[in-house]
Amino acid sequence: MIRPMRITIAQYSLSGCEGCALRLLNIITSNEKLIDHIELVSSRVMGIPEVRQADVAFVDGSVLRDNEEEFLMEIRSKSRILVALGTCSIMGGLNALRELYTVAELEEQVYGMKLNIGHLDSAKPLDSIVKVDYIIPGCPPPTWEIEEFLLCLLLGKEFRLTDRTVCFECTSQGLPCLLERGEVCFGPVIRGGCNAICPKYGIPCWGCRGIVEEYGMERLIENLRKHNVSPERVKEYIRIFLLKTKLRTLMR
């Protein structure tokens, strides 16, 4: 039973695909349990572009340009709780791949010129600039987890991410092991909660929810070697979501 309280929510997007924002907005506009208890006070997509005081601010995307740092600090100053929503905001995600090049190289390759619009060399996660109160990982985060987070807020309950791994969720559904087929799958060390949706649809886990099982990483790399997966292939797949993690260091 939900307590009759109401919270104000703000939604902001930094650089990213804005898929996390669309997921959040879809929940806010269609979840009957939540709709009467939530007031959306800021969201550019929904026609309220100003930064406003809010109980909870959801921020997706990462900081890729100098002016986004200032924007993020303004958001922090006006939000009681700040939630990093999605892989890009938590660990750089796909945006972090720019760190393999210089901005000048990237701009030259894509535009044939220097743009001079304040592109940063790195993709900064939110917690490198401001205090982040909660993270909801995933590319994009699962719907149920965002709903759970909102329900916890409304009920005054503590929100916790699962410590289960993707591998646990995969095997408990009886899905065939992709590692054993020689695929590069990081499922044994990656945080679950996604119901192993990628392995279920025939694609290995490439780690969008981040590493939860640090102790198992060395074993995983050993395991990949045993299955004749070359270090180059492993590196290629680390360079999807996990460029900024310890897994990358271990592969050096």
């Binding site: 990213g16 695909c17 269609s30 890729l64 279920k200």
Partner: protein, 423 residues
């Protein structure tokens, strides 16, 4: 000279964008107008290089949170073209269904956000209508979204789309059952479009331009056909770059694409309806006439498309069969180029790839918003000048409001627009 608009954001669109308008108040003349996307580049065309082909659609779909399906499909089809790989009819028809579902999803999201965005700026929306909007989103979640979740694992970013087909598919019976409720959407969408029309916000304008879309003689499709310019010139996908020339702009993260390198053109729902005529469509009366030259009617064209697509979904639903859905090439070419052009929700999306064996080695993406940006600018110039001519003195607020509304009608997707690459 006044700089009229200096805003960081235009509400209701994906990705921040700024429009700057300079007018001479004394002569009521438009001096200059610039569109400035403010999004950062994410350089997908570089970070996708040297990837195994099967990972390309997975990553490409992350270019955009709303057109993710279009990017996944178009990249997979371009790689198949390079591999000279023919996929079976079962894959083609399922892809068509997926493209239609994701387009309905995108259009409905745009129409609902438009109404929310315009709320309070015109007459108040009735409580009853608000309930209908919530009901519509709920039914969409339980039908369209659920079907995409079932088919591809996630309604935002598909998991199983790869060159050659699908890595996995659920039982088609399950997909069919999720789509049973689609009929319930018809009435709600009808009410949504009627309400939008009754707002009296959509100006009557006659902005003549070129319209470009895929044309398919057999049915109103999104994935197959030749590229038609104004229903008069039809070109093969492989000739795309002979007609449409992309240009970088100093200091801007978004490029522009121009017909013959000099003229702007429109892509998207209105262009698709104009090019394909759609004489028999009963909802074309919403547009008054076809072809239509009024950019303010783009959201209405999206409404017409949704009504058409809801019928097509019913037809395709009945054709679903559990059949093998993945083919692989007999051998990988040493080095080959491939192209693909499909209709994303916001218009024509073009991918050109080079592969060496099973690895992607070069990539060029031309997105719908890149193609529409110059047209948006031209139509804004046209509208602002028309407004100025009709005013005794320049009314800044009204010009700002109309400019903003026109941009919102185009449904631009800036995260897409700033990810373009020329090889």
């Amino acid at each position: 000279m006044n700089v009229l608009e200096e805003r960081s954001f235009i509400p209701g669109i994906e990705g921040p964008m700024k429009v700057e308008v300079s007018i001479d108040p004394s002569s009521r003349r438009l001096v200059d107008l610039e569109i400035k996307p403010m999004e950062s580049s994410r350089f997908f065309e570089v970070i996708l290089l040297n990837r195994e082909a099967k990972a390309v659609p997975y990553i490409a779909s992350r270019i955009c949170g709303i057109c993710g399906y279009a990017h996944a499909l178009c990249s997979a089809m371009a790689i198949e073209d390079a591999w000279r790989l023919e996929v079976p009819d079962s894959v083609r028809s399922l892809r068509e269904l997926i493209a239609i579902l994701s387009t309905v999803n995108s259009h409905l999201f745009h129409l609902v956000t438009l109404l929310f965005t315009w709320l309070g700026r015109s007459r108040p929306i009735s409580l009853n209508f608000k309930r209908n909007l919530i009901e519509l989103m709920k039914v969409k979640t339980h039908t369209i979204d659920k079907a995409l979740n079932e088919l591809c694992g996630d309604k935002l970013h598909p998991r199983n789309i790869v060159p050659g087909g699908f890595t996995y598919l659920p039982s088609m019976n399950r997909v069919m059952s999720t789509l049973e409720g689609v009929n319930r959407l018809n009435k709600l969408v009808y009410g949504l479009v009627e309400e939008l029309l009754s707002f009296d916000l959509l100006r009557e304008e006659d902005f003549k331009t070129h319209y470009v879309a895929l044309k398919n003689e057999t049915r109103y499709g999104l994935l197959e056909g030749c590229i038609s310019i104004d229903s008069m010139i039809e070109i093969k996908v492989s000739n795309f770059k002979k007609y449409f020339i992309e240009q970088s702009i100093s200091g801007s993260p978004a490029k522009l694409c121009l017909l013959y390198g000099k003229e702007s053109y429109m892509v998207g729902a209105l262009a698709r309806l104009n090019v394909n005529s759609c004489q028999e469509c009963e909802y074309r009366r919403w547009l008054h006439k076809l072809p239509s030259t009024n950019p303010y009617l783009i959201p209405i064209a999206q409404g017409v498309e949704v009504m058409k697509f809801l019928d097509i979904i019913q037809d395709l639903r009945r054709e679903l069969r559990d059949e093998p859905r993945l083919v692989k090439p007999h051998h990988y070419p040493r080095r080959a180029r491939g192209m693909s052009a499909i209709e994303a929700p916001r218009g024509l999306l073009y991918y050109e790839v080079e592969v060496i064996s099973h690895k992607l080695t070069a990539l060029d993406i031309i997105t719908p918003t890149v193609q529409n940006l110059a047209n948006m600018k031209d139509s804004l110039k046209y509208i602002v000048q028309r407004l100025l001519e009709g005013m005794k003195r320049a009314q800044i607020d009204e010009i700002r409001r109309e400019a903003e509304r026109l941009v919102q009608c185009y449904d631009p997707c800036i995260p897409c627009a700033v990810h373009v690459h020329e090889t």
